[in-house]
Symmetry: C2
């Protein structure tokens, strides 16, 4: 497929979200963040852009985090990339359907957030046959 | 500071970018991605939202990546969070000025991208006194 055809078939979506709850500035929260780096292999392939956005927003809610903005892009012939900017950092997803692979990041900070709940939710949705997860502590103070 | 005051003082910025060059769908690229997870300590504090966006877009260019959208948020009383969605994944930055800490992620895939160039650029800009970098290979095929 020529590059020009790829451009015509791609679709952007970016929106700033209204906050349903008051924003707690992260500067008032404990700053040690948990960053889950997840590799999903051989799961469902979801190519509908708005559905992917809805899934990530649901994941953000499961993590008890506050979504500030969401942005996504659909590639041609296939592949979706998306991120949710959170008050507590971010959730991102990049798909490679031809490899049956999803790169997922769930980075949240603060005492009330539950990144593992977002991870479990995404596993339920995508049903990957193989999952690798690294947990990285961000902002560890010496 | 009450939560309501925090809301009034915060500012969103989200924009979908025009692509200066043809988009190469990442499905046509090698899918092994490099994800740099960088902790910047005790560097410059840059609180101007548009300047932070410009810095991240410059970082994306240094990495020879294609920026699709950028989103940022300024907290009150301080702190900036920002994310650039790339054709090749993403660059993100979350700041904790009160801790003199920046959490930076540079995740790119494909043979032409140069994530370490983006990292070097960000170090030049922020001049952190201490830097910790993890390099994670994403989407390793068995």
């Amino acid at each position: 497929m020529k590059v020009k055809e790829m451009i015509q078939n791609t679709a952007f979506s970016t929106q700033t979200l209204q906050m349903p709850e008051p924003l707690v500035a992260h500067s008032s929260q404990k700053c040690l963040g948990i960053h889950l780096i997840a590799e999903f292999w051989d799961g469902k392939i979801i190519e509908e852009q708005k559905e992917v956005e809805r899934i990530l927003l649901d994941a953000a809610r499961r993590a008890r985090s506050t979504a500030l903005a969401i942005s996504s892009h659909k590639f041609s012939p296939y592949g979706i990339t998306a991120f949710v900017l959170l008050a507590e950092s971010h959730i991102s997803m990049h798909s490679w359907p031809e490899k049956n692979y999803l790169a997922i990041d769930i980075f949240t900070c603060g005492e009330k957030t539950m990144p593992f709940k977002a991870l479990e939710y995404l596993k339920e949705i995508y049903q990957p046959k193989r999952v690798e997860v690294r947990e990285i502590k961000r902002g560890k103070i010496r």
